[in-house]
C-alpha cells in the first residue's frame, strides 16, 4: 500500500514539474462564449507568433465580469457592456475594448427549411407565447409564398446567463413595450415560454432536433449548422437578412468614445437590428488587476494585435470585423491603459 501511494505521489510531483516547465508568458482570460471560436483561433495564431500562451475559459459573459472583479483573470470578455451601476461595483476603473461585432439570429426548424420574414412585433409575441402555432395569421401574412405547417411553436432559449441573451432581450425590450414590462433585458431572464439549452451550442442543438422550434443563436453557429434563420424588419422598415455586411452596417452609427454602446435596433437603414459588439474588459491601470509589468505589457501587445492583424481571422469564422472608426476608437482606449502611470501602447 505504502509503495503504491509513494509511486502515485512521485507521478504527481513529476506532473507538477513538467507542467511548470513552460516558456514564455501565460495570460488568462474568461468570459463570453460567443466569440470563443474566434478568440481561440486568434490566441492560437498569436501563440505561434510570440510564444505567449493565452488560456481563455468560455464561462459566459456574466462569469467573465465576475472573475475580472475578483481579479482571478488577467482580462474578462463580455457580449454585454457593464452598465454604470455595474461599474461602481469595481474597486478600480475598467475599460471596454470592442473586438468584433456579431448578429443574434432567429433560427427555426420547419419542414422544407423555408426562408421566413418576421416583424419585431411578431417576434416578440412568439417569445411571449402569444403566437402559438406556425400557421398563425400574423406569420402567414408576412410569408404569403410559404406553406406554413400547423405545428405548435416551441421556443428554445438559453438556460445559462449569456451576452447573447442580453443582446436579444435588449432588442425585444426596445421593440415591445409588453416585453419590456413583463420580462425585461438581462443576461438571463425569466422566460414566459419555452425550454432552455446550455450555451449557443445547446440552443442550436435543441432547434436542430425539434421540428417546429424557434430559438436565437449567434450567426456563426447558425451558419455552421446549416440552420435557416429569419429576415427581420429593422427600424427603418427594411427587411434585412443577417450577414456580416448587415452587422457592419448596423454599427455604422455615432459611436461613443468609451465604446459602451448597444447596436440593437439602430437607425442604420440596411443594418440588421439584433447586432452587438463583443468586448474584452481590462483594468485601466493594470496593476489594479494584480498583473506583473511583464504580463501587463504582453496583454496590451496582444490586444493591439487582435485589433489590427488579428481582425483578418474574423470573416472566415463569420464574425464582422471592426469598422475603421471603431478600430480607431478602440486603439484610443487601449492607449489609456497604463501600468503604474505609464502608458504601454506606443
Amino acid at each position: 500500500m505504502k509503495k503504491i501511494l509513494f509511486i502515485l505521489l512521485v507521478i504527481l510531483i513529476a506532473g507538477f514539474n513538467t507542467a511548470g516547465f513552460s516558456k514564455g508568458i501565460e495570460l488568462t482570460g474568461a468570459g463570453a462564449t460567443f466569440p470563443y471560436p474566434l478568440y481561440s483561433k486568434m490566441f492560437n495564431e498569436y501563440h505561434k507568433l510570440t510564444g505567449t500562451k493565452v488560456n481563455y475559459q468560455a464561462i459566459g459573459s456574466g462569469g467573465g465580469i465576475r472573475q475580472l472583479r475578483a481579479k482571478t483573470v488577467d482580462f474578462g470578455a463580455s457580449d454585454a457592456f457593464v452598465n454604470d451601476e455595474g461599474l461602481k461595483k469595481f474597486a478600480s476603473p475598467i475599460v471596454h475594448i470592442p473586438m468584433t461585432a456579431g448578429a443574434v439570429v432567429v433560427a427555426y426548424n420547419l419542414p422544407g427549411n423555408p426562408q421566413l420574414k418576421l416583424t419585431p412585433e411578431v417576434l416578440a409575441d412568439i417569445f411571449l407565447g402569444k403566437i402559438k402555432k406556425w400557421n398563425d395569421k400574423r406569420i402567414a401574412e408576412l410569408n404569403k409564398n410559404v406553406q406554413l405547417p400547423s405545428l405548435p411553436i416551441m421556443v428554445a432559449h438559453r438556460s445559462d446567463g449569456s451576452g447573447t441573451t442580453f443582446i436579444f432581450t435588449d432588442y425585444l425590450s426596445k421593440v415591445s413595450k409588453e416585453w419590456k414590462e413583463k420580462v425585461g433585458k438581462g443576461k438571463s431572464v425569466n422566460w414566459p415560454v419555452g425550454l432552455g439549452g446550455k450555451g449557443n451550442q445547446g440552443v442550436a442543438g435543441l432547434v436542430k432536433n425539434m421540428p417546429g422550434s424557434i430559438g436565437y443563436v449567434e450567426l456563426a453557429y447558425a451558419i455552421q449548422n446549416n440552420m435557416p434563420y429569419a429576415t427581420l424588419k429593422n427600424k427603418a422598415g427594411n427587411f434585412v437578412k443577417p450577414s456580416l455586411e448587415s452587422v457592419s452596417k448596423a454599427a455604422n452609427i455615432d459611436l461613443p468614445d468609451d465604446m459602451r454602446v448597444s447596436l440593437t435596433n439602430t437607425g442604420a437603414s440596411y443594418g440588421y437590428p439584433i447586432s452587438g459588439f463583443t468586448w474584452i474588459l481590462v483594468y485601466q491601470n493594470l496593476e489594479d488587476g494584480k498583473l506583473s509589468e511583464e504580463k501587463a505589457k504582453e496583454l496590451v501587445n496582444l490586444l493591439k494585435w487582435m485589433l489590427t492583424e488579428g481582425q483578418k481571422y474574423c470573416e472566415p469564422l463569420h464574425y464582422a470585423p471592426l469598422s475603421e472608426t471603431a478600430k480607431k476608437k478602440a486603439l484610443a482606449i487601449l492607449k489609456k491603459v497604463k501600468y503604474r502611470g505609464k502608458a504601454l501602447l506606443k
Partner: protein, 278 residues
C-alpha cells in the same frame, strides 16, 4: 375445489408477472449497451485516443479527457484512500455510539447529491485558489469516493479472523505492527476491490466537475489548472449540434463504459473471496 383452483391461478399469474417484469427491467441495460456499441465502436481508432479535440465541425480525439480523468482519479485517490482506510479501521476497532453514528453519517455522505459536493469543492478550493482546477475536481471526487473506501475497509477487515491477530500479539507484535503487517495485508485484496469500484464510480461523475475541473480542450498535467474529463467531454459533445461531436461523444461513452465494466468484471472475477458490498 373452485376456490383452490382460483388460488392456484392467482399464484400462477403472480409468478408470471414477476418473471415478466424482471426480464423487462433488463431491457434498458441491453438497449443502452446496444446503442453504445452501434454508435460508439465505429468512431474508435488509435487516433481517437492520441489526438486532441479540434474546433467544429471536426471533432478530433479525446486525449485531453483521458489524461484529465487519470489526473482527477489520481488526486481523488490520494485524497480519499489513506483517510478512508484509517477511518474504516476505526469503525472496526471501535464499538460505541460515536462509531455507530459515524457509520450512518458515512452512508449519508454517500447519498449526498454529487452537485452539492461540487458546490462544496467550489467554495473550498476554486474560490480560494481563484480559478478552476484539476485539484478542486479531484477533491470533489475524493469526497465522493471516501465512503466507498471506508465501507470496503470495514467490511473486509471485519471478516478477517481474530485468531490471526492473536497469533501476531502472541509473537510479541504491538497493535500498530499487527494492523499494518498482519491485518491489512490479509485484507488488501478486499480493500483494493472497494477502491477499484470507487474509481469506476467516480470516473463517470460529471456534475461535481462542471464548476471545478471545468474542462479544457488542451492537454494539461498541472493540478492547479482546469482539465477535461471523459464524462464532461461526453456532456459537452452530446449537447452540441455538430454531428461529428455527437459521434465522438458516443465513442467516448463507449470508452468510459468499457472502463467501468472491465473494473466491475475484474472485481467480480478476482474478488470472489471478499464479498464487498458498496
Amino acid at each position: 375445489m373452485g376456490e383452490v383452483k382460483l388460488r392456484i391461478l392467482k399464484d400462477r399469474i403472480f409468478t408470471f408477472i414477476i418473471y415478466l417484469l424482471t426480464f423487462l427491467s433488463v431491457i434498458p441495460l441491453f438497449a443502452i449497451l446496444f446503442s453504445l456499441v452501434k454508435k460508439g465502436l465505429g468512431v474508435i481508432n488509435l487516433n481517437f485516443f492520441i489526438t486532441l479535440p479540434k474546433p467544429p465541425p471536426d471533432a478530433g480525439g479525446i486525449l485531453n479527457a483521458l489524461v484529465g480523468t487519470f489526473l482527477l482519479v489520481l488526486i481523488a485517490s490520494i485524497v480519499s484512500i489513506p483517510i478512508g482506510i484509517v477511518a474504516g479501521l476505526f469503525l472496526v476497532e471501535t464499538r460505541n455510539r460515536f462509531a455507530n453514528m459515524l457509520r450512518v453519517l458515512i452512508n449519508v455522505l454517500q447519498g449526498l447529491p454529487s452537485i452539492v459536493i461540487g458546490i462544496i469543492a467550489y467554495l473550498w478550493v476554486v474560490k480560494p485558489m481563484g480559478g478552476f482546477s484539476a485539484l478542486s475536481g479531484g477533491i470533489a471526487l475524493g469526497i465522493m469516493m471516501l465512503p466507498m473506501v471506508v465501507k470496503s475497509t470495514e467490511e473486509t477487515i471485519k471478516l478477517i479472523p481474530y485468531t490471526l491477530r492473536e497469533a501476531s500479539y502472541a509473537l510479541g507484535a504491538d497493535y500498530f505492527t499487527t494492523i499494518f503487517k498482519v491485518v491489512l495485508p490479509a485484507g488488501i485484496s478486499g480493500i483494493l476491490n472497494g477502491i477499484l469500484l470507487g474509481i469506476a464510480r467516480i470516473a463517470g461523475e460529471t456534475a461535481p466537475l462542471l464548476f471545478t475541473a471545468f474542462g479544457n480542450p488542451y492537454l494539461n498535467f498541472n493540478p492547479a489548472k482546469p482539465v477535461d474529463s471523459l464524462p464532461l467531454l461526453i456532456f459537452n459533445y452530446a449537447m452540441s449540434p455538430y454531428e461529428r461531436w455527437q459521434n465522438a461523444a458516443w465513442g467516448a461513452s463507449f470508452v468510459l463504459i468499457a472502463f467501468v465494466l472491465l473494473i466491475n468484471i475484474g472485481v467480480k472475477l478476482g474478488g470472489r473471496r471478499w464479498r464487498v458490498k458498496l
